[in-house]
């Protein structure tokens, strides 16, 4: 089972993601913004990073760019938690180095099946 870094400034969203993934047997570390996530990523090793886009201090896109600069995160899947509204820019996410996205709102099943795609 994988070790996953879940990054979102919304506590309820973090709780929901953690609970879902933990129920599926994964190990979750939560971070509440990009800066926090970067520090936690540098201090540990993760198989997958799930990151919100809009966050205080450091947003999700900057986080992806910073992570991709780190050798140990160069090929790790990083998924953005985005909304369909077009406000979270998928293209920009990919340019920054994100692997893919999960569109909010999502339910636990959607989350798990998407995660399976990159952890297979």
């Amino acid at each position: 089972m994988a070790t996953i870094l879940a990054v979102d400034d919304s506590k309820s969203m973090r709780q929901m993601v953690s609970f879902t993934l933990q129920s599926a047997g994964h190990t979750i570390v939560e971070a509440e913004d990009g800066q926090d996530a970067l520090e936690k990523a540098q201090g540990g090793s993760f198989d997958l990073v799930l990151a919100d886009v809009n966050m205080p201090r450091m947003d999700g896109l900057s986080l992806v760019r910073k992570l991709r600069e780190l050798p140990s995160y160069k090929f790790i899947p990083i998924l953005m938690l985005t909304t369909e509204a077009g406000t979270d820019k998928k293209g920009e996410g990919r340019n920054a180095g994100a692997t893919g996205w999960i569109v909010k709102p999502f339910n636990p099943d959607q989350l798990l099946s998407t995660i399976q795609r990159v952890l297979a």
Binding site: K11, S23, A24, R57, G91, P105, P108
Partner: protein, 686 residues
């Protein structure tokens, strides 16, 4: 997997209300007329709306999600500088915050969620007004054909050539092929012409391409979805075998309507995303660190804790009483333990009480909105300054101070602050300042509302007071004259407005503050401004009391109101006009209340009555009264229990407490007692 989402609801509500507060204070702090608005402020407002929308959708509140989507869309346009800030936009967004709050409140109570349809319409109008058609690229638009024909098995030829550095986005072509294989029967052929000898191969790149033949029941959309994350990092050709139609090509970017449509949007975003990283690198907003080091606990739990500590204090007092009867030499260790217990309990009590303490910011934070709305409603310009928001006081006191404070601030703006033109004529800044400050002083907290308006007019107040039959000397000091505004029926405004000044106001404010054990005072200088000062105890739960015997019972007098106690002969008590006794205390006549008679205590014998009486002089709001009691018992801290919740309000009684020996004792409300005594004597006098 089924998961009960409702377990996350409370967290979602809590953070959403916090988010709304953040939006509100951000919007209020924003100057729509300024040349440029701080992008980080706008970002923070946007983020809050965005989070609420995302959570609402996830946790099943579609109505809230739909409405906040409109707010978010408008904020996105503000954030990306597509639209200029105006007070109209700020206004609509503030209304949106209110509406969202109402929706969330309904949701917390499991009530049907109200639909703010008017506001929704207004938001849609504003959004439609925009110069840019809000093209929200829907992913579905790239798949116009219906998939109805795909019900049966279809065979597709897929040519997939990822860009060499595809793995550096974390996308592994092998995973994509595996996902494809999960949709049906797959035959794969690897195109390895670009593969170099091993010695020259760059392990970080992928020089391969694949031809895949898949027989599947899945729709075209499902297949495309597998490639969605790499669609502009690969070349992909899909051909349906059974139909002779031309291949549908997704070449990088150009053929993808979604990415084509989104490119002008990205350009529009650039100005906003430019300054943002710089701001993010700057100092952290001060509130962040506070929120992360706290946890949420329901008030019920804290109150239960306080109650339990209260019980503990009573048990401790009981033990202490028993302990006093023990021989100090024989039971030295027990007595040492008792005194240690006493100290520990006192610390515990202080620590537990402090958990109910909230910063005054809790109240102050709602004033920017109130000031803005009140001032704009009156056509005045007012700047609000708050100070000492960090000063803490009991949650119960904070909740009860909101209304009086509202009234005082509204009064200050309505009656104190002049119209901009008048201010300019008086040589003042057209924008008035209202200053809300709080600080600790002894065991009290002082809250002050100061304005730089026209001040109170001494002569007008005097005239009004006389008209109302208030007896006041011409040469009375200003402080005495100004405090007349707290009397019923004395409003200083010449005309009544919708906001304040129906003449009920300040006297009610004063009564409310007094019921909290506090005091209110006003000072003013004509032309310079008015200052209203409120003094409040830090907590309502613990009281320093003087215990006295009345008949067979023990009553508690708040120590703060006790002036002196003395023994008087029955002859010292003079009756005036037959109905109320007066006692001469140092050249001053003080009304007398016989506590046993007043509260109807039995057990006060004829002997008690004829004995030399013991009198405690207490004072409330500069008004003294002499209470006749039977015995002074002592001084102690008591835990105040509310009487109203268990019985009903009793005039002259503030609450009850449990004494060390387990007896219930009533706590006297001095102000209430005076009022009740006046009311009782009035019918006789009239």
């Amino acid at each position: 997997m089924s998961l009960d989402m409702s377990q996350f609801h409370q967290t979602f509500f809590d953070e959403s209300f916090e988010g709304l507060d953040a939006m509100e204070s951000g919007l209020l702090g924003l100057d729509p007329s300024a040349e440029s608005v701080d992008p980080e402020v706008v970002n923070a407002i946007f983020r809050a709306a965005h989070s609420i929308k995302g959570g609402a959708g996830t946790f099943g509140f579609a109505e809230i999600g739909g409405f906040t989507h409109l707010l978010e869309t408008l904020l996105e346009e503000m954030r990306s500088l597509k639209r200029r800030w105006s007070s109209e936009i700020v206004d609509v967004l503030l209304k949106g915050v209110d509406a969202t709050r109402a929706m969330l409140e309904a949701a917390t109570r499991n009530e049907p969620i109200p639909s703010p349809s008017d506001l929704e319409q207004r938001l849609q109008d504003i959004l439609a007004h925009g110069t840019e058609a809000e093209a929200m690229p829907e992913r579905q638009s790239s798949q116009p054909e219906s998939d109805a024909a795909d019900k049966g098995m279809t065979t597709w030829d897929i040519q997939f050539v990822p860009e060499p550095d595809v793995a550096q986005q974390g996308n592994d072509p092998l995973r994509i092929l595996r996902a494809l294989a999960s949709l049906g029967n797959v035959t794969t052929h690897v195109d390895s012409v670009a593969l170099k000898p091993l010695t020259e191969h760059d392990a970080e790149t992928c020089p391969l391409g694949w031809d895949v033949q898949i027989e599947t029941a899945a729709s075209e959309a499902d297949i495309r979805d597998i490639f969605a994350w790499v669609e502009d990092a690969c070349s992909l050709q899909m051909t349906r075998r059974s139909t002779p139609s031309a291949p549908v090509a997704i070449a990088p970017a150009a053929a993808d309507p979604a990415s084509a449509a989104s490119s002008p949007k990205e350009q529009g975003d650039k100005p906003a995303s430019g300054p943002a990283p710089a701001a993010a690198a700057g100092p952290k907003p001060k509130k962040d660190s506070v929120s992360t080091s706290s946890i949420r606990v329901s008030v019920d739990k804290i109150d239960m804790l306080i109650n339990l500590v209260g019980e503990l204090v009573i048990t401790q007092a009981m033990l202490q009483q028993r302990g006093a009867a023990l021989d100090p030499v024989e039971h030295e260790s027990v007595l040492t333990g008792l005194s240690q217990l006493d100290r520990n309990i006192r610390h515990l009590q202080e620590a537990v009480m402090s958990t109910r303490m909230l910063p005054v910011d809790f109240v102050f934070s709602r004033f920017p909105r109130l000031v803005r709305d009140t001032a704009s409603g009156l056509g005045k310009q007012v700047k609000l300054i708050t100070e000492g928001e960090g000063a803490e006081l009991d949650k119960g006191v904070i909740e009860k101070i909101v209304d009086p404070l509202n009234h005082i601030v509204r009064n200050a703006i309505d009656h104190g602050v002049e119209m901009p033109a008048d201010r300019k004529a008086a040589g003042k800044d057209a924008t008035a300042t209202v200053r809300l400050s709080a600080w600790h002083q002894g065991g009290n907290i002082v809250i002050e509302v100061a304005d730089d308006g026209k001040g109170l007019d001494r002569e007008k107040i005097l005239a009004k007071a006389r008209k109302n039959g208030v007896d006041i000397a011409e040469g009375a000091p200003d402080s005495e004259v100004f405090n007349l505004i707290f009397l019923p029926g004395l409003s200083t405004a010449e005309k009544v407005t919708g906001l304040s000044g129906r003449g009920v106001g300040m006297d009610v404010v004063k009564r409310n503050i007094q019921s909290l054990g506090g005091a209110v005072d006003v000072s003013s200088e004509l032309g310079k401004g008015t200052r209203v000062t409120i003094r409040l105890p830090l907590t309502l739960a613990i009281l320093d009391g003087m215990t006295v015997r009345v008949g067979d019972d023990i009553m508690v007098l708040p120590l703060a109101s006790v002036v002196e106690s003395m023994q008087v002969q029955p002859a010292d008590l003079r009756s005036v006009g037959g109905e109320r006794s007066l006692l001469k205390v140092r050249e001053e006549f003080v009304p007398v209340i016989r506590m046993d008679e007043f509260f109807g205590y039995r057990g006060s014998t004829e002997a008690d009555r004829n004995e030399a009486s013991l009198v405690v002089v207490v004072e409330d709001d500069h008004e003294k009264v002499a209470l006749v009691i039977n015995e002074l018992v002592g001084q102690q801290q008591v835990v105040v229990k509310n009487l109203e919740t268990h019985y009903k309000p009793v005039p002259g009684i503030a609450g009850a407490t449990i004494l060390g020996d387990g007896r219930v004792s009533l706590i006297v409300d001095v102000g209430g007692l005076q009022r009740a005594a006046r009311q009782r004597s009035r019918p006789i006098a009239a």
